[in-house]
């Protein structure tokens, strides 16, 4: 009788990775500082300049980009092994274009004034380099959940810079915050008639005489101001991270 030894097949138990572990946290938080899409990777600048004259459209734009970036990364990652190499770019663009069409139609239905204000720039989310950049760099090579988190993280990093620039431009350029939305806050007003402003810079008012003579900075209303502000943000960021300084 032949001795048969039953060999138990080697079963490796793959440790179940946590849903939101260290890797996901890194993907989510890194774009806020070290790998920021706008200031470090230099992507997605086009819309950052044009919509940031007011804070409210910028917030809407940021939410739209977070949505598109996250879900396009997710869907691309789901089909990444099935796309032939030749049509890779077209498939990615169709995924992004479909998501942006959804965003556009949603905005058109629920908030028509903002849709009119953002007009062309919603469509330009398709060509927003951040979305394509993350698809090519991460989603094509990683699993869906990680890709989704990475997309969200980069969208949020973009949104943070957008809102910083928009706040500076609106407060100093128009003296309000969230103008055009239901939660408008008036911050700096230059005449006594503008009641409700937090800082009234009219020379006659008691508190305002400290800031007397400040009028709305019209440079901030120009899109070029966004370029200056982002240039200064890059300056500040690179001063704290000397490794990123250009040595050319």
């Amino acid at each position: 009788m032949a001795e048969t030894t039953a060999t138990t097949p080697e079963v490796t138990v793959k440790e179940k990775e946590p849903l939101f572990g260290k890797a996901e946290k890194k993907l989510l938080l890194d774009p806020l500082g070290d790998t920021n899409p706008i200031t470090i990777q230099v992507l997605g600048i086009c819309s950052a300049l044009a919509v940031t004259s007011l804070v409210y459209p910028s917030v809407v734009m940021a939410i739209a980009v977070v949505f598109v970036c996250g879900f396009s990364s997710l869907f691309t990652s789901l089909v990444r092994n099935k796309i032939p190499k030749q049509v890779r770019m077209i498939v990615q663009l169709v995924i992004i274009a479909t998501l942006v069409t959804i965003v556009e139609l949603t905005l058109k239905r629920f908030n028509y004034p903002i849709y009119k204000q953002l007009s062309v720039y919603i469509g330009l989310i398709i060509t927003n380099c951040i979305v394509m950049g993350r698809l090519e760099a991460y989603a094509m090579a990683n699993r869906p959940w990680r890709a989704f988190v990475d997309g969200l993280g980069n969208g949020v990093g973009y949104g943070v810079i957008l809102i910083i620039v928009a706040v500076i431009r609106e407060v100093f350029g128009k003296g309000t915050l969230f103008a055009g939305s239901p939660i408008q806050i008036n911050i700096i007003g230059a005449s006594n008639d503008e009641i409700g402003y937090l800082i009234n810079t009219a020379a006659e008012s008691g508190f305002g005489s400290l800031f007397a003579g400040y009028y709305n900075n019209n440079l901030m209303v120009l899109p070029a101001a966004a370029m200056f502000i982002i240039g200064v943000l890059i300056w500040i960021q690179r001063s704290y991270r000397p490794t990123l300084v250009d040595v050319s």
């Binding site: 077209i90 556009e104 240039g231 690179r238």
Partner: protein
């Protein structure tokens, strides 16, 4: 002369880069030397000049209510426009590879990246929102491309020279390019409000 006015307007007064800040990503990335900027600028003129009329045909004859399908299919605009642009850029890539392999290698990844250049899609979307007709869209495409070409050559030339200046270390390179572009944008604002039609009509 209406076409010439549109060309001049798109090239100088409403420059896609300096007035609307479209196409910034490749604008900042390729403008390190004038030779690469020159090549990319020519490619952009070509792509804009070709995709505009094609997108016009699609928008007017296929997607609008008066088109051959008879239904309002404008929600398909984004997908079709970007597909046309991607195909045209593929074509340009093949042509450049045949005609000038040196330029092809020096442009590298940025030639296919013209597809996601905001200026191309933005130009088409402007054309739709301003409701140009067929010949006007060609003029707008060529004018916009020419303006983009001028802008990227200008900033490349300035960046080549400013490498020898005493810029603070953290501001060198990218930060300086942003500030330079902002200044150029303000300079181009001086052209805002010029109406070529009124000027030529006055003569």
């Amino acid at each position: 002369m209406e076409l010439f006015n549109i060309f001049i307007k798109a090239a100088f007064i409403e420059n896609l880069v300096l007035a609307y800040f479209l196409g910034m990503c490749s604008y900042l990335a390729v403008s390190k030397t004038v030779t690469t900027a020159f090549g990319l600028g020519l490619a952009v003129i070509f792509v804009l000049g070709i995709t505009m009329p094609i997108n016009w045909i699609i928008s007017e004859w296929l997607l609008s209510e008066n088109g051959i399908f008879g239904m309002d299919l404008t929600f398909l605009r984004f997908i079709l426009f970007i597909a046309v642009i991607a195909s045209m850029v593929q074509l340009v890539e093949m042509i450049v590879e045949k005609v000038s392999p040196a330029l092809y290698t020096s442009l590298g990844i940025f030639l296919p990246l013209i597809t996601v250049n905001c200026a191309i899609l933005g130009g088409s979307l402007f054309m739709v929102s301003r409701e140009y007709n067929f010949t006007e869209s060609i003029a707008f495409g060529l004018g916009g491309g020419f303006g983009w070409f001028l802008a990227i050559i200008a900033i490349a030339a300035i960046r080549e020279k400013i490498r020898y200046s005493n810029v603070p270390p953290a501001l060198r390179g990218l930060g300086m390019a942003f500030i330079l572009t902002g200044l150029m944008g303000i300079a181009f604002m001086s052209l805002m409000g010029i109406d070529p039609a009124a000027l030529t009509a006055g003569k």
